[in-house]
């Protein structure tokens, strides 16, 4: 029983985790990406379309990645080169892309809301021969698709890149001290845009997981606010890949739990508020810590 539940929780965590890592990297680079929802949506649609058209999962994933990356770059450019407010631009992208997606579905395919073309090839799930026999751990690790493993693989990879490579160092500097970065001769805006491309790509893959990884079709509500839950996860994680992953897993866990608990007295909607409440608690807690520090006096 618990095995099935954990397996489901892992599955639900994947899109949140992918997007959260992308969003975390983006924020480290200095941009809070509110528009991740739109990139997930675009990725989900692209994956379904290309999968049905070509029969190739690889091509579908590539298309989803590209769709997200392009939107990420577009949004970033508006913020960095046109000095636009990142929050409003993000919200605007969400509205515009949601509309665009539904518009295209109606115009190109004549469908409203749900797009279910024939011949969609889903992401395959793989059982790991020895691992799957291990209780609990086996259920969590084995029988997942490649994107799930990729997502978790990215956690240590991101940590490694951030702290051991040039690009990671420069990214961290860009987000916290843009003037300094410019003063040492680098181009902070380019670095920031690159982090947005990464975030968009990850969100695109997350969308692909939602569509061809789980349900096998596209629906206009498929992202279900997960872009914002991912935001909650990376706010919770505050720049640490491990903590971000913990947040994403926590929210994925709640998501899976809430489905199971439906009809058992705990309202689904209230469980859904948990990620957002946690973000507020974290921010307020940090606020208290700051006030305490300045009152006590640090040398």
């Amino acid at each position: 029983m618990i095995d099935l539940f954990l397996h489901a929780a892992m599955l639900m965590t994947t899109p949140i985790l992918l997007t959260a890592i992308g969003g975390m990297v983006n924020r480290i680079g200095g941009l809070v990406n509110i528009g991740l929802e739109s990139m997930m949506l675009a990725g989900a649609l692209a994956a379904v379309e290309v999968s049905a058209a070509t029969g190739s999962v690889g091509a579908a994933l590539a298309a989803a990645l590209a769709a997200g990356a392009i939107l990420g770059l577009a949004m970033s450019l508006v913020v960095t080169r046109l000095c636009a407010n990142e929050i409003i631009v993000g919200l605007g992208f969400n509205v515009a892309v949601a509309g665009l997606v539904r518009f295209l579905l109606k115009s190109a395919y004549g469908v409203s809301g749900t797009f279910n073309p024939p011949g969609v090839v889903m992401l395959a799930r793989y059982d790991l021969p020895v691992v799957k026999e291990i209780p609990v751990f086996g259920a969590v690790v084995s029988g997942q698709d490649c994107l799930t493993w990729f997502a978790w693989f990215m956690v240590p990879i991101t940590a490694f890149v951030l702290h051991r490579t040039r690009i990671g160092l420069r990214l961290r500097a860009t987000g916290s001290a843009e003037a300094t970065v410019r003063a040492v001769g680098l181009k902070p805006l380019n670095i920031r845009d690159a982090s947005s491309v990464f975030a968009g790509a990850m969100a695109g893959l997350a969308g692909a997981h939602l569509s061809i990884g789980v349900v096998g079709l596209f629906n206009e509500g498929i992202t279900g606010g997960r872009g914002f839950i991912a935001l909650a996860a990376f706010y919770f994680g505050r720049g640490s890949p491990a903590r971000t992953a913990l947040g994403a897993a926590l929210f994925g866990f709640f998501d899976a739990a809430q489905i199971r608990l439906q009809g058992r007295g705990i309202p689904a909607e209230l469980v859904q508020t948990l990620p957002y409440i946690i973000v507020i608690v974290v921010l307020v807690g940090l606020g208290f810590a700051d006030v305490g520090r300045s009152r006590e006096g640090v040398v």
Binding site: G92, G99, I280
Partner: protein, 346 residues
């Protein structure tokens, strides 16, 4: 008491530019899907403004936007970046809907003001938390109010699917409000209701308040330079707190008017992002009363025209959202006043 900004001509031009740019994007999308952009746009203008009935439809669509735009403007002007109007809208709408059928036997003269007032108060109280977090702890209000939106939507969704669900109702809705709670129609058979007048009046009042009152001047100074304001003795935290609460009051009121005037019940998902559109309206209108009024009418026109053109052409209504989103994006680009930072970590 207006600060000496750029000449009015440039202000209008700067406000019009995002619409022009959005129109280009929309045109590209239309052309790419085999429609004639100019024909579509002409049809939209006709549908929005051609004739009394259509204008009434436009103004009806503009009604919620007048107040969500005002809610955003009043906060932004004071330097508080409140994006939580959507949440207040939901909460206010639910409160008004519930009072609307619970107090069914009450006379209109009492019921309507009470419902509106209660909704407003709930909206105002909802934002006290983020306001205090900002003034006492320095916590950025953007993220906190954004999160509160989702929490509010989820809470109202839970309530309307559970305890407050109308018996025998298929979708998540409350019971319809009593006839005595409905805001009267202004121009039957159109759906234009008294709420439009109330909202417009509030926007006008804001315009007077910002120019003629000491509190209006104070709020403007705090928004322009909080450090200066503190040095000359203005109570900055109190100003920020009061403007945030006012913003919440108006957001709650907006939801209540929408319920009592148009929808007559609370339904989950009854706001297609009015709160967020209000943000774009405030930014485009430079936080001024006239700007908010004009912006609300324009966005209302967009929305109502989009609804009808899909009856007469095969252009999907979503063209409206594409245009709205594009306007939001360009509203804060280049010409945009936005806020202090364009791309710095939150």
């Amino acid at each position: 008491m207006v600060a000496a900004f750029a000449a009015p001509f440039w202000r209008v031009a700067a406000a019009a530019a995002p619409f022009a740019l959005a129109a280009c994007i929309g045109a590209a999308v239309l052309a790419a899907t085999g429609h004639d952009p100019l024909a579509v746009y002409r049809l939209m203008v006709e549908e929005a403004f051609g004739g009394q009935r259509r204008i009434a439809a436009t103004l009806t669509a503009a009604t919620p936007l007048l107040l969500t735009g005002l809610a955003a403007a009043i906060a932004f002007r004071a330097g508080i970046f409140n994006v939580g109007a959507e949440g207040c809208f939901y909460l206010g709408g639910l409160v008004a809907a519930v009072l609307g059928y619970v107090m069914a036997s009450w006379p209109s003269m009492l019921l309507i003001p009470i419902a509106l007032g209660a909704a407003a108060i709930v909206g105002g109280v909802w934002l006290i938390g983020p306001a205090l977090a900002r003034t006492r702890l320095g916590v950025d209000e953007v993220v906190t109010t954004l999160m509160l939106n989702f929490i509010a939507v989820d809470i109202t969704s839970w309530l309307v699917n559970g305890p407050l669900l109308a018996r025998g109702s298929a979708n998540s809705a409350t019971l319809p409000i009593a006839a005595g709670a409905e805001l009267p129609r202004l121009l039957p058979p159109t759906t234009l209701h008294l709420g439009f007048v109330i909202s417009l009046a509030l926007v006008a009042l804001f315009g007077l308040w910002e120019r003629l009152t000491a509190a209006g001047l104070r709020s403007q100074m705090v928004g322009l330079n909080p450090r200066f304001s503190r040095a000359v003795g203005i109570d900055v935290p109190a100003t920020l707190l009061s403007m945030m609460i006012a913003s919440g009051l108006i957001g709650g009121l907006a939801g209540a008017i929408h319920v009592l005037g148009l929808v007559h019940r609370f339904v989950a998902g009854f706001s297609p992002g009015y709160g967020f559109t209000g943000i774009a309206i405030a930014v485009l209108g430079r936080n001024s009363a006239i700007g908010v009024a004009v912006g609300a009418v324009l966005f209302g026109a967009l929305s109502s025209a989009g609804a009808t053109i899909q009856l007469f052409s095969d252009v999907p209504i979503e063209i409206v959202e594409i245009l709205q989103g594009a306007v939001m994006i360009f509203a804060v680009a280049k010409f945009g006043a936005g806020r202090r930072r364009g791309a710095a970590p939150a």
